[in-house]
Structures are given as structure tokens and as C-alpha cells.
């Protein structure tokens, strides 16, 4: 059996730094855990993990939605982690459309947001924030106390039950609290029992399937028309 943690957040919100600091804050944990990053195009983060002596793999979704790609490959990832003899598997993914979340029932779910990204980010980030157990806010050392407080308030409006942690991705301040919250309190799960917290909107329009031409004639499937 293996411990799982799902980490999601908009692109560039500081996910990799937070994960590295979290792993670093527990002595000897580096050798016991593996990270899989789900992304669309680049695999740059893998190097960053390697630099810190953390075993990481990247899954490139290419033309697919990274979140859908995540669910359909989760079992393989668990098997990989088991083969490597890890006790914990951490997944990192950057959703793109903010309409779904890679969070699983009974698996600690962390959402990472950047305090510099504007006060409406918690609202706009949808289920990723709403369904998280812990919302981590990065870069708040760079903003005024007032902006930090407003940001926290906006998160609580969307998800009153979550814990909000402010973590400095550079110094790692606060990462140990996150580690304690999600690693020591982590429940062991059988993969047969695993379920998504949120059913993902499926690819139903022609553009999901690769259509590039613009215009009514090319729109098959489920479409919503803007009211102007």
C-alpha cells in the first residue's frame, strides 16, 4: 500500500518549489517518495526535482487535457511508485481550463495559488480550490499584509472548510507544517476504492477533438452560445 497526495494549481503558482520544500522538510523522506508531474508540453520540472535528489517523472499530455490524462494514467503511476519501493506518491498537475480538479476522495488534496495572481484567482480557479483540503498560498511575503488577508478571505469564501497555509517557496518557511498536515495524517488507500471528488467535464465539442476551423459549420457536439 502506498500513500498518495494530489497537488494541483494554476501554471507557475509555485507547485514544484512547494513540493520540494515539503519533501526536504522531513529528514530522509527524499528516498521514500516519488513525484509525477502531469503537464502539456515541457518537462523542465523533472530537472529541478533531480537537482534536489528527488525521483520524478513527467507525463506529457500533449493534445489531451492534463487532468483527463492524469486520471487515465493514475494506476500506472502507482505501479511505478510501488516498483521503486516508495512509500509515498505525490502527483503535481497544472489544470488548464479550471473546470475540473484532479483531487481524489480520501487522498489529501492540496491546491497551490500565487498571492500575486490577483484577488479573484480563488474564485476563478473553481473545483481545484473548492475541493482541496489545504490551500497553499505562495509569494505572500512579497505583498502587503492587507492583500494577504483579502486573498485568504476570498479563499474562505470559495472553500470555508480548507486550511489556508502561507508558504514561502524560496526559504521554505511553512513547508514543514504542510508536510505534517498531509504526510503524517495521510490515509492509506486501496486503488480500487479511489474516486474523483469531482466528475470531469468531458471532451464533447469538436475543438476538444482537434478541430481548428472557426465557424458554425465545424461545431459538432455540445456547444454553448454566448449571449450578446
Amino acid at each position: 500500500m502506498i500513500d498518495l497526495i494530489t497537488i494541483a494549481g494554476p501554471p507557475s503558482s509555485g507547485k514544484t518549489s512547494v513540493i520540494i520544500k515539503m519533501i526536504d522538510s522531513i529528514e530522509g523522506f527524499k528516498d521514500k517518495c516519488g513525484v509525477i508531474k502531469f503537464d502539456c508540453l515541457s518537462a523542465l520540472d523533472e530537472e529541478q526535482y533531480a537537482k534536489h535528489g528527488i525521483t520524478a517523472k513527467t507525463g506529457l499530455a500533449g493534445n489531451l487535457c492534463p487532468d483527463h490524462y492524469f486520471v487515465s494514467n493514475f494506476e500506472e503511476c502507482i505501479n511505478w511508485a510501488k516498483e521503486k519501493g516508495f512509500s509515498t506518491l505525490i502527483t503535481e498537475s497544472a489544470g488548464l481550463c479550471n473546470r475540473c480538479a484532479p483531487h481524489l476522495k480520501n487522498v489529501p488534496a492540496i491546491c497551490i495559488l500565487d498571492n500575486l495572481s490577483g484577488i479573484n484567482t480563488p474564485l476563478k480557479t473553481g473545483p481545484m480550490v473548492k475541493l482541496a483540503d489545504v490551500v497553499v498560498v505562495t509569494k505572500s511575503d512579497l505583498v502587503s499584509q492587507a492583500e494577504k488577508e483579502v486573498f485568504r478571505f476570498k479563499i474562505q469564501q470559495v472553500n470555508p472548510k480548507c486550511k489556508v497555509l502561507f508558504i514561502n517557496g524560496i526559504t521554505g518557511q511553512g513547508a514543514d507544517k504542510l508536510a505534517r498536515l498531509v504526510i503524517t495524517e495521510n490515509k492509506k488507500m486501496e486503488k480500487e476504492q479511489m474516486k474523483l471528488r469531482f466528475s470531469m467535464p468531458t471532451a464533447l465539442c469538436s475543438y476538444c477533438l482537434g478541430e481548428t476551423r472557426v465557424g458554425e459549420d465545424f461545431q459538432i457536439g455540445l456547444n454553448r452560445k454566448i449571449k450578446l
Binding site: L116, D141, L142, Q145, A146, F153, Q156, P160, R180
Partner: protein, 331 residues
């Protein structure tokens, strides 16, 4: 706040009593100001087109509303602090620290020590409510009780406010709208008065006046710091204020500290500035990462303040002299 009551109260009354709810309704294009129906009535009488337009469902919106209510309730909690203690841990050489630190509301304490000695570390331990789990092994007690992960949640995340040299305003808003937003997120009843008070105080502190319509990102370093201090004092409700090196920020230091003390805050400030040190009630000396001793500012030192202030003034005048393009000439 009673969820049941709010579900059955006319929307009109809800937004009247607490304008914060307008945010929620307007995000679904519901005109709450003129709505006699209660939330429950309202959502059960909406046509399909309403759900279609909002890409939502009755259950979803009902859940969101209940969550919103508990979110507002959580941010309304208030608690007071009588004491803050930092129990000794170890210094950089792993030797036990010499003393504990005890802090009271309405009191200013400075943290002094050479560069790299560990002043900022002490502030970080307090911000994180250390409980023997940081490199210093210090423990933070609030009202005599060990503080844990849930303590700051108990205070609704309003326990500690920080002001440091690195902080900047980043939002794309003018000063007045921003302060309004902050006051509303703090659920202040008289938000407008609070905003006016902050504007007035910030202008006094900064010495270079600014307008309520200035975008926050356009403020100078001194103006930003002044606004942050006034905001922490009047709108933010954190009873503990941690300040890291604001000496070069160009604010009226004495006024700033007086303001925070008048609001009964516990003020802890890492500084190299002798004027600030003498304005404090006491100071903790950091040596090699450890709390070495606590010195209470004595009357002799308070007397020395006047002398230092004169020197500071001369220095300031010299700065201005050159800043404004003057040159020294043989007389």
C-alpha cells in the same frame, strides 16, 4: 450567523444587513436589492434558462450559498490576546538560549543584534507559532497556552500581521477602493469611516501626501509603508504586529509606533536603528542565533533619545540638502 434564518430571509434584507452578500448574488446576476423572495423561494422559482445561463444547478448554488455563509461566519470570529511568550530554545551552536521573552499588548519590543545574528529568525518563529519544531526549538505560547496549527485558525487567520521591507502592493486598484475591499473582507460595520481614518493617518505618517485615487502600485516606498502601517492599525485586526527593518522606509517612526501602541497591539520589531530601539519599552539582544538578554529602556536612555533625535534631524537635513540639488561652498 444562522444558516437556516438566512435561507428564509428576503434577499433584500440580507444584503441590506450585510453588504458582503451582494458579491455572491451579483456573481449569479441576481438583483438582490429589490428581491422580496428568500433564497430558498428564489432558487425554486427560477426557469430553466436561469440555470442554463449560469451553467449551474439548484443544488450547486444552494451548496455554494451555505458555504459562503460559513465563510463569512468564520471571518467574523474575534478573540483577544493577553500575553505572548517565546520560550527559550537553542542558539546556532546548539547551546540553550539565555532567556525567554514575554510580551504584552500596548508594548513595543525591539530585537537587536548584528547582521545574520538571527533577528528575522525570531520573527519567523513567532509567525509560525513555533512549537519546538523549528531549528531554534523555541516554543510560542499564546495566553499561556502552546499554540498549534489550529490556534491561528481559531483567530480566523487574524492573529499576526507583518510589515517588512520586501512587501509591496501588487493589486491593480486605487488606494480607496483597495482599503474598502480590505475593510469589507474584515466585516467592519463602519467601513467608510475606517477607510477615511487610514487615509488620514497614512498621510500623516508618510510626509509625502497622496490621494485616495492613486493606484496602490504607484505609491512610493515611504507611502506604501505608511499605508501598510495605518491599515494594520485600523483595519487589520491582528493583535500581534511583527516588523522587520522598516527604518529606511521614510515614514515618521515615532508616529507610526505611537499609532500601533494606541491600538493595544503587541509590537515586535527587528531593527538596527538606535532611535527605534530607544522608543521601545524593552529590547531582546540576539547573539549567535540565541536570545541573550532582555534590556528595559531606562530613563537615562530615554533622555539620550532627545540627543539622538537632533543628530537624526541634522542627518535628514543634510540628505535633503543634497537631494534638492544644493552644493556646499566655501563661505
Amino acid at each position: 450567523m444562522e444558516t437556516e434564518i438566512l435561507l428564509h430571509k428576503p434577499l433584500k434584507e440580507i444584503v441590506n444587513e450585510n453588504p458582503l452578500f451582494s458579491d455572491f448574488f451579483s456573481s449569479f446576476q441576481i438583483k438582490a436589492e429589490n428581491e422580496h423572495k428568500s433564497f430558498t423561494e428564489y432558487i425554486s422559482t427560477q426557469p430553466d434558462s436561469f440555470w442554463d445561463e449560469n451553467a449551474s444547478s439548484k443544488e450547486e448554488i444552494a451548496n455554494l450559498f451555505v458555504d459562503y455563509i460559513s465563510g463569512i461566519a468564520a471571518s467574523e470570529q474575534k478573540t483577544t490576546i493577553e500575553t505572548l511568550d517565546i520560550l527559550r530554545g537553542i542558539d546556532k551552536s546548539k547551546n540553550p538560549e539565555n532567556c525567554n521573552l514575554h510580551l504584552n499588548p500596548g508594548e513595543i519590543t525591539c530585537i537587536v543584534g548584528p547582521t545574520g545574528s538571527g533577528k528575522s529568525r525570531l520573527l519567523a518563529d513567532i509567525e509560525w507559532l513555533a512549537n519546538g519544531d523549528t531549528p531554534t526549538k523555541r516554543k510560542v505560547l499564546i495566553n499561556g497556552q502552546p499554540a498549534d496549527e489550529d490556534t491561528s485558525a481559531l483567530f480566523g487567520g487574524k492573529l499576526i500581521a507583518q510589515i517588512t521591507q520586501n512587501m509591496n502592493f501588487v493589486l491593480d486598484m486605487d488606494v480607496e477602493s483597495f482599503l474598502m475591499l480590505h475593510a469589507q473582507s474584515r466585516l467592519l460595520m463602519n467601513a467608510e469611516d475606517a477607510v477615511k481614518e487610514v487615509m488620514k493617518l497614512a498621510n500623516e505618517l508618510s510626509g509625502e501626501p497622496f490621494d485616495p485615487t492613486t493606484p496602490v502600485t504607484f505609491l512610493s516606498g515611504g507611502q506604501s509603508r505608511a499605508l501598510m502601517i495605518a491599515d494594520v492599525a485600523c483595519i487589520g485586526q491582528a493583535p500581534i504586529v511583527l516588523i522587520d527593518e522598516i527604518e529606511n522606509a521614510g515614514v515618521n517612526k515615532k508616529k507610526a509606533l505611537d499609532l500601533l501602541v494606541s491600538k493595544d497591539k503587541i509590537v515586535l520589531m527587528a531593527t538596527h536603528d538606535p532611535l527605534l530601539i530607544l522608543l521601545a519599552d524593552k529590547r531582546v539582544v540576539i547573539k549567535n542565533g540565541g536570545m541573550d538578554k532582555i534590556i528595559t529602556t531606562n530613563t537615562h536612555e530615554k533622555g539620550y533619545y532627545a540627543e539622538l533625535e537632533k543628530m537624526d534631524k541634522a542627518m535628514q537635513e543634510a540628505k535633503d540638502f543634497f537631494r534638492y540639488g544644493n552644493e556646499l561652498k566655501e563661505s
